[in-house]
């Protein structure tokens, strides 16, 4: 199994840490993992993205053009990465702030109202966990308990009390991911 994922959104949305938790979960399952962020001034306030690969073979290039899954969290990232999903691949996005919805019909497209849900749960910080939950619902490539183990690893001690909340967020996310039918076609 090899899963090649791009996660893209704003700097503040916890894009990089979401990728990191996913990678850690992979390690918990003895998979090979790589995590390659975009870096440098384009992060300046604007978009951030990270390529995460989980595989049971040695990973050659951590840097990719095409992905099995794209998790897209703002319009700029949608413009940039909609066409980077492999045919038959998966595109998950949060409709919040999206003015131009995806139009491809050779891939599966799902929506998850991460921003809204996080707002309802009154904790912006768990936004990325909600999204992660949605993704894992569609691609259960790692077990939840390993995600939690990964969380423990990547969070510093003094945040461990937040783990239950994050776990909850993951489950909420799993329940709130819905297919998107674009009406264009």
């Amino acid at each position: 199994m090899t899963e090649e994922i791009i996660i893209a959104g704003f700097g503040g949305q916890g894009v990089l840490s979401m990728g990191k938790i996913l990678a850690y979960s992979g390690i918990m399952e003895n998979q090979e993992v790589s995590w390659m962020p975009s870096y440098g001034p384009e992060m300046r306030g604007g978009t951030a993205n990270v390529t995460v690969i989980l595989s049971d073979e040695r990973i050659s290039s951590p840097y990719l053009q095409l992905f099995d899954t794209a998790i897209i969290l703002n319009q700029q990232s949608m413009d940039k990465f909609e066409n980077s999903v492999k045919p038959g691949g998966l595109l998950i996005y949060d409709p919040n702030g999206i003015s131009h919805h995806p139009t491809r019909n050779d891939i599966q497209i799902f929506q998850i109202e991460g921003t809204k849900i996080a707002a309802e749960m009154e904790n912006k910080k768990i936004f990325n966990m909600v999204i992660l939950g949605g993704f894992l619902k569609k691609k259960p490539i790692v077990k939840i308990e390993n995600v939690i183990a990964g969380l423990k690893k990547s969070l510093s001690e003094r945040y461990h009390h937040l783990i239950p909340l994050n776990e909850k967020a993951i489950h909420v996310g799993m329940e709130n991911i819905h297919p998107y039918q674009n009406l264009v076609n």
Partner: protein, 76 residues
């Protein structure tokens, strides 16, 4: 006696929602939109237009020069 009335035009796609224009407005004219622009930023707008005096304070502190300011004399 002639008083001035002002207005601002915000280039909503240029605005980055930094809000530094808000505290410099003595008349509390400026508010931030609920919706976001294409870049994902909430943008400035005149939440109470009639108060604007066209003093240009907002314009001069806007790093992105998203604001143009207009002013007219109106006789009361």
């Amino acid at each position: 006696m002639a008083k001035v009335q002002g207005a601002i035009a915000v280039n909503t796609e240029v605005c980055k929602g930094c809000e530094v224009c808000i505290p410099v407005c003595a008349e509390d004219v400026i508010g931030m939109s609920d919706t976001v622009n294409r870049k994902g930023y909430h943008y400035a707008y005149m939440k109470n237009p009639e108060a604007c005096t066209g003093c240009t304070n907002c314009g001069i502190v806007c790093p992105d020069r998203a604001i143009s300011v207009y002013r007219v004399k109106v006789s009361a």
